[in-house]
């Protein structure tokens, strides 16, 4: 059996009942990094920095944390749901969805191409399995997640709704409407993770528009706040998400403030905002891939 197919089957089985060990998860993270780099390199566009920073989070969520059905029904009844608010990190989302069995990994090769289901930013419009809302225009995902969580309550569906948003994205006012609403209405089946990488297009979040203490703000808004200092450590992510899950149903929405390193896993993409929306050239790709050898087979 070819390596690729073997890897696919292995990871599709993870989605149902087989729990991978940390080493296997890290191998997948490394392969996801390669997918991200190769996807954005091919079309010379896309957002590798934030995608690399969240590779561990996505792998943890889809392989270890969420109960979900990769055969995919839009209504997602009786399964956990995930909404990506900062849609520009679509490369990591697509890679992990594909490697969790939602669609063929070969399709990653169509990222941002004409007639592709893998649009620059995620969309339901082309019918890509795993996507339940379009995102890209920032600040909208949390409201959608709140709505989905309210629907679960109406449907007596005990599963959890997860969402991820960027830290720069918190500058959008709609988020704060949603934070206020979720606390006031005890939307306690919702776990919202903020990717605190401290960077946005024009520079550091401190320089562009200082967010102050996000923890204090969310605490004051009535959320349970968990701080995850090492958001690139898959074990730490799994532990924090498990703790968050244990706190659901207590009358308060839960936020995880996850500190990540933008560009994680590629030394020259780290500690800078330069790779927010820039693709590597041929030499840079080669260097980046050399730091992340193939583990499960490239698409």
């Amino acid at each position: 059996m070819p390596l690729l197919k073997q890897a696919l089957l292995l990871f599709q089985s993870f989605s149902s009942n087989f729990m991978p060990n940390t080493q296997q998860l890290e191998a997948l993270v490394q392969q996801v990094r390669r997918d991200i780099l190769r996807m954005v390199h091919k079309v010379n566009s896309g957002h590798p920095g934030g995608s690399l920073g969240c590779a561990e989070f996505f792998v943890a969520l889809y392989q270890e944390v969420m109960t979900h059905d990769f055969s995919f029904q839009m209504d997602g009844k009786n399964e956990d749901l995930f909404f990506l608010s900062n849609g520009h990190i679509s490369p990591v989302f697509y890679s992990v969805l594909a490697r969790s069995g939602y669609f063929p990994v070969e399709e990653l090769d169509t990222f941002r191409l004409l007639d592709s289901r893998l649009q620059g930013h995620p969309t339901t419009h082309e019918g890509l399995p795993g996507i339940r809302i379009a995102s890209g225009s920032l600040g909208q995902g949390l409201s959608v997640a709140v709505g989905a969580a309210l629907a679960k309550k109406l449907n007596h569906d005990p599963q959890t709704v997860y969402t991820l948003m960027g830290d720069g994205e918190l500058q959008e006012g709609q988020n704060w409407e949603a934070f206020m609403y979720a606390a006031a209405n005890k939307v306690d089946n919702l776990i919202a993770t903020v990717d605190l990488n401290g960077k946005q297009i024009d520079g550091s979040t401190d320089e562009v528009l200082n967010l102050g203490s996000v923890a204090q703000k969310l605490d004051a808004f009535g959320w349970t706040v968990l701080e995850l200092k090492d958001g690139n450590n898959i074990t730490a992510i799994i532990d924090t998400l498990a703790k968050a899950k244990s706190l659901t149903g207590n009358g308060k929405p839960i936020a995880i403030l996850m500190q990540t390193e933008m560009g994680n896993g590629v030394d020259f993409m780290m500690h800078t905002h330069a790779w927010h929306g820039k693709a590597p050239n041929d030499e840079q790709l080669e260097a980046a891939l050399a730091q992340n050898p193939e583990t499960l087979g490239d698409y």
Partner: protein, 318 residues
């Protein structure tokens, strides 16, 4: 001239309230959201009967649109309620991305549309909302003309899969449509009065004005065909083209800017298929101001007198 009896003046927003209450009783998936305007939108009955299916979001319309989009994912059919201004312009990008582009089954129900909102003035009198909404791919745009039609439209849109913009108003106006004689069907214009000299196509509050204008015109020997276009998108092109084939000219009438409204959609249809002279009864690329609805309709040229004048003008151009 076919006569229609005013069963008593009523506001179209009350038609929405009654329709929504009925949906609450008949469709368990219907949920409602409001941004601090429950009384204005006449949602009290639905809320009293279905408290668990109502979401008061406060003065946060952007969040309301996002929550509505999310609720559809669990199979709910959300009806959002606020003024037309806050239902469209204020939240355009939320509607565009989270609802229209995402293909979500949200019913955006907008009261106090147009200039007849009256004394509150131009900050609240949106005259651009039809244009904003009809430009969104996949959005259905409906502007019913009276209490009964608004009630019927509210009930009808639940069966339509996809986003809908339902536009209605504040003032009490003639209530004259009936289920038997003028049944409501999405996308299907209603021939209210057959005529031979001119076609008058009207939407919303201007429909009753068009009927009054037709009566006036009859007295001076002008036979006006009056068509009620309640669904601006998708537009019933057949009923319009059939009519102008007979009359050879058309006046469109709406409580909206002439840019982006019903008139523009009709003009596009005519230029593509059968160009005839057209005159527009609409506001002329302007903001409104404070005043009573009747004063404002007169000043901004969107009442029965304006329709009569435009009919005379368009017939001269034939």
């Amino acid at each position: 001239m076919k006569t229609y009896i005013n069963q008593g003046n009523q506001d179209t927003r009350s038609g929405f309230g009654v329709g929504l209450a009925e949906l609450g009783r008949t469709n368990p998936n219907v949920v409602a959201l409001c941004a601090d305007l429950v009384g204005s939108l006449k949602m009290d009955e639905f809320i009293a009967e279905n408290p668990e299916r109502f979401f008061q979001v406060g003065i946060a319309e952007a969040n309301m649109m996002g929550i509505a989009a999310g609720l559809t994912i669990g199979g709910k059919i959300p009806f959002t309620g606020t003024f037309a201004n806050f239902s469209t312009g204020r939240v355009y990008d939320q509607i565009r991305q989270s609802i229209a582009y995402s293909g979500k089954n949200v019913k955006i129900c907008a009261s106090h549309a147009g200039i007849t909102l009256g004394e509150d003035g131009a900050t609240h009198q949106i005259l651009e909302d039809i244009g904003l909404m009809k430009m969104l791919p996949g959005m259905t745009v409906i502007n019913p003309c009276d209490f009964n039609q608004t009630k019927a439209a509210t009930i009808a849109i639940v069966k339509h899969q996809g986003p809908v913009y339902l536009r209605f108003g504040r003032p009490k106006v003639a209530n004259f449509t009936t289920e038997e004689e003028t049944p409501f069907e999405i996308g299907k214009g209603i021939l209210l009065n057959p005529g031979t000299d001119v076609t008058i196509v009207a939407t919303g509050h201007l429909v009753w004005e068009a009927l009054q204008a037709a009566e006036t015109l009859e007295k001076v020997g002008v036979s006006a065909e009056v068509i009620n276009i309640h669904t601006i998108k998708p537009l019933d092109e057949t009923i319009i083209l059939n009519s102008v084939q007979k009359t050879g000219c058309i006046v469109t009438a709406e409580e909206h800017n002439f840019l982006g409204g019903l008139g523009e959609s009709v003009a596009r249809t005519l230029t593509a298929a059968q160009p005839v002279p057209q005159e527009f009864v609409a506001t002329q690329d302007t903001f409104g101001e404070s005043g009573t609805p009747a004063q404002l309709m007169a000043k901004y040229g969107i009442d029965q007198n304006a329709i009569v004048e435009k009919v005379k003008k368009v017939i001269e151009r034939k």
